[in-house]
């Protein structure tokens, strides 16, 4: 059919079930060790780093990328990719703002939220249908969506307000913001929601038939199809799930105002987190713990640099450090897995 099947055929070595876990487990140790070193280093320089308040804030910084990563991880495990999430996040936030804000349509919070989640799922469905039924490569579909949705967001945000006044959406009602800044049992609602999403995804991939199918599709679509699995349905599900989760990420926003610049570069951030977390871009491999650690490792970086108090020019190096971090992560991983997988060179 085409090269995807050949790629996955090659990778479908008999290592699937057990050795997969061994491999992935090692990657998690690797990230955990790097994380521990970084945290230990910063804490010796600045003791406030491990204060309860800071740990909470770091976790809150992780909420949006982590929620979306759960979906993108599944998409990548099936051997596809979704890079439209950045623009989708911007568009959904704008839509949520338009629907919920008292200066705009002023829908009740539940209706605005449901509509946002539904729109997210619909965007995901469109991606999924284009990938499976029309058979356009997912990177193309989501690249196209990335540009289109960004354009739509700008059009929506510069559309004249219903009340005829100038300015952005500045007053997201508290009933919506409760999911971002509210607290349940003393812990931020956004953390509860993220925890639910992560646990749900972990249960989904470990204990349900659907989860096993997702991995089967990614490791060998031909075999999966022959054994009677609907590859199409599985893939559509992962895209819809991702879209839905972008909707969830929209709702846990910490912000009261909506501007059109949201989510720029978010898609690459998420893919980076997922890949650093050990999910193989060729499909079939990846664990929830790895992704969680990957997100924390990437998101903690900016906080770390601020806590090191390196002065006013230090932030110019942020991006270089992030790039180097990814290179080191893949390098360690590759060197570590050399011994086990000889045929790995290529792709």
């Amino acid at each position: 059919m085409d090269a995807t099947s050949t790629i996955s055929m090659e990778l479908a070595t008999p290592t699937f079930s057990q050795r997969l876990w061994q491999l992935a487990a090692r990657r998690e140790y690797g990230i955990a060790i790097v994380l521990a070193i970084i945290i230990a280093g910063v804490t010796t320089k600045n003791h406030d780093f491990l204060s309860g308040e800071n740990v909470r804030d770091i976790l809150i910084h992780c909420t949006q990328p982590l929620i979306v990563s759960c979906g993108v991880m599944l998409v990548i495990v099936t051997g596809e990719i979704d890079i439209s999430v950045g623009s989708a996040l911007a568009l959904l936030t704008a839509v949520l703002g338009w629907l919920a804000s008292p200066t705009h349509y002023h829908w009740p919070a539940w209706a605005a939220i449901l509509a946002t989640l539904a729109l997210g799922a619909i965007l995901g469905l469109i991606n999924g249908l284009l990938v499976t039924l029309v058979r356009i490569p997912s990177i193309i579909v989501t690249l196209g969506m990335l540009t289109m949705l960004r354009g739509l967001t700008v059009i929506l945000m510069s559309h004249p307000r219903p009340d005829g006044r100038a300015g952005d959406i500045t007053d997201m009602p508290y009933s919506v913001r409760f999911f971002g800044i509210g607290k349940i049992l003393g812990i931020s609602t956004s953390l509860w929601i993220t925890a639910i999403v992560v646990v749900f995804t972990a249960l989904l991939i470990t204990f349900t038939p659907l989860g096993r199918r997702i991995y089967a599709v990614g490791s060998n679509p031909h075999a999966a199809r022959l054994s009677g699995l609907s590859v199409t349905r599985v893939k559509i599900f992962t895209f819809m799930f991702t879209g839905f989760l972008v909707g969830v990420a929209t709702i846990v926003t910490q912000l009261a105002t909506v501007t059109s610049g949201l989510g720029q570069g978010f898609e690459l951030l998420v893919v980076t987190c997922v890949v650093v977390g050990g999910v193989s871009i060729s499909g079939g491999v990846g664990t929830m713990i790895g992704v969680v650690l990957g997100v924390i490792l990437i998101q903690i970086q900016s906080t770390v640099l601020i806590f090191l108090k390196l002065g006013t020019n230090a932030a110019n190096w942020n991006q270089a450090i992030q790039g180097a971090l990814i290179l080191i992560a893949v390098l360690i991983d590759q060197v570590a897995s050399r011994g086990e997988k000889r045929i790995g060179g290529g792709h």
């Binding site: 700008v154 500045t170 501007t259 059109s260």
Partner: protein
């Protein structure tokens, strides 16, 4: 069979393109298709970044002037804020036969050569909001120079930190900018740094990018609040950074202890000014800025404004002073609790 498929596909695609072309041409104004005439000058107004409230309010004033003066006004600019894209648009408008192009330069370096080349082809080029080197334009419609903006931001924050008296200001300050590479912001930072020397007790400890993303702005402000215990003030110098930084201070419960200021349209920050998070917002009347720019462009195209004039009659704004080749809008406004409700833009 294959060939027929190809034909069907291409005809369908062509139809889609043609249809989209026709249907939309009715709804938009057909400024481009009309030939430039002496009676109705074609004016192109270029913002640094399209789609942000600052420039949308400028456009509002510009449209008001255009309707009054009978100017064929086109307002367009890069939604990405890329100066390279802006340069390409200027080149395109030159080919389209613009009479006047009014440029707000996000980065003078790539724009100045293009503007010079447009001038050499007989187009009047002016700058507004943000200037380029003097030989690349005829006039600059100026609300404030980068130096004045930097000074105003610095003085305002010092005053807010000092509880009304700038000389009492003491402690650490930080900057949240757009991208680290944003030319405009870097220019302001330069002048903020210079002005800070006037306040020896204020120490600049960090500059962080927000990448034009409010969430990121909120996160870095939050981190800086914790990392620098003595942080007393934040300059949030982009339209995304300002609300993000204000929200971070509010959520950290540091309202009153840490001051934040920046440039923003009053409507966007009213909420934070009223709840006390933000004491002062620095800006000028953006609607009037757009209005004045269009008036100048119109006068230039009709030949009523020449080099060497010392005053300019700008409709409802009255007489405006011209200083050399700089047309002055008026003063920087500091919005606070008492006056912000008087402005609606």
């Amino acid at each position: 069979m294959v060939r027929i498929g190809h034909w069907i596909g291409s005809v369908a695609l062509a139809a889609v393109i043609a249809l989209s072309g026709c249907s939309k041409s009715e709804s938009t104004h057909e400024s481009a298709s009309q030939p430039a005439s002496a009676i109705k000058p074609t004016v192109y107004l270029l913002p640094k970044k399209k789609g942000v409230p600052y420039f949308e309010t400028c456009a509002k004033g510009a449209r008001e002037a255009a309707d009054k003066l009978g100017v064929d006004l086109t307002y367009d600019g890069p939604t990405s804020g890329s100066a390279d894209e802006a340069a390409k648009m200027i080149e395109q408008w030159t080919l389209q036969g613009a009479d006047v192009i009014a440029v707000s330069a996000s980065d003078p370096a790539p724009l100045a050569p293009v503007m010079k080349s447009a001038r050499s082809k007989g187009v009047h080029v002016i700058t507004w909001d943000s200037d380029t080197p003097a030989d690349s334009r005829e006039f600059f419609v100026c609300q404030a120079s980068a130096e004045q903006i930097g000074n105003a931001l610095c003085d305002t924050l010092a005053k807010d930190i000092g509880g009304g008296n700038a000389d009492n200001a003491d402690g650490e300050v930080a900057i949240v900018t757009a991208q680290m590479t944003a030319a405009n912001q870097n220019e302001w930072i330069k002048y903020i740094k210079a002005r800070l020397e006037k306040y020896p007790k204020l120490k600049l400890v960090d500059i962080q990018p927000s990448n034009d993303d409010q969430t990121k702005a909120q996160q870095v402000t939050q981190d800086m609040l914790k990392a620098h215990a003595n942080l007393k003030g934040v300059f949030a110098i982009s339209s995304q950074a300002f609300p993000g930084a204000a929200e971070a201070i509010k959520q950290a419960g540091k309202v009153g202890q840490v001051q934040v200021t920046g440039l923003s349209t009053p409507n966007d920050m009213k909420k934070y000014v009223h709840d006390g998070t933000v004491k002062s917002v620095v800006l000028w009347n953006t609607v009037d800025l757009g209005y004045l720019t269009t008036c100048v462009a119109d006068a230039l195209a009709k030949g009523t404004l020449k080099k060497g004039a010392t005053t300019f009659n700008a409709g409802r704004l009255g007489e405006k002073k011209i200083d050399g080749d700089v047309i002055l809008l008026g003063d920087i406004i500091v919005f606070n609790k008492d006056n912000i409700d008087q402005f609606d833009f």
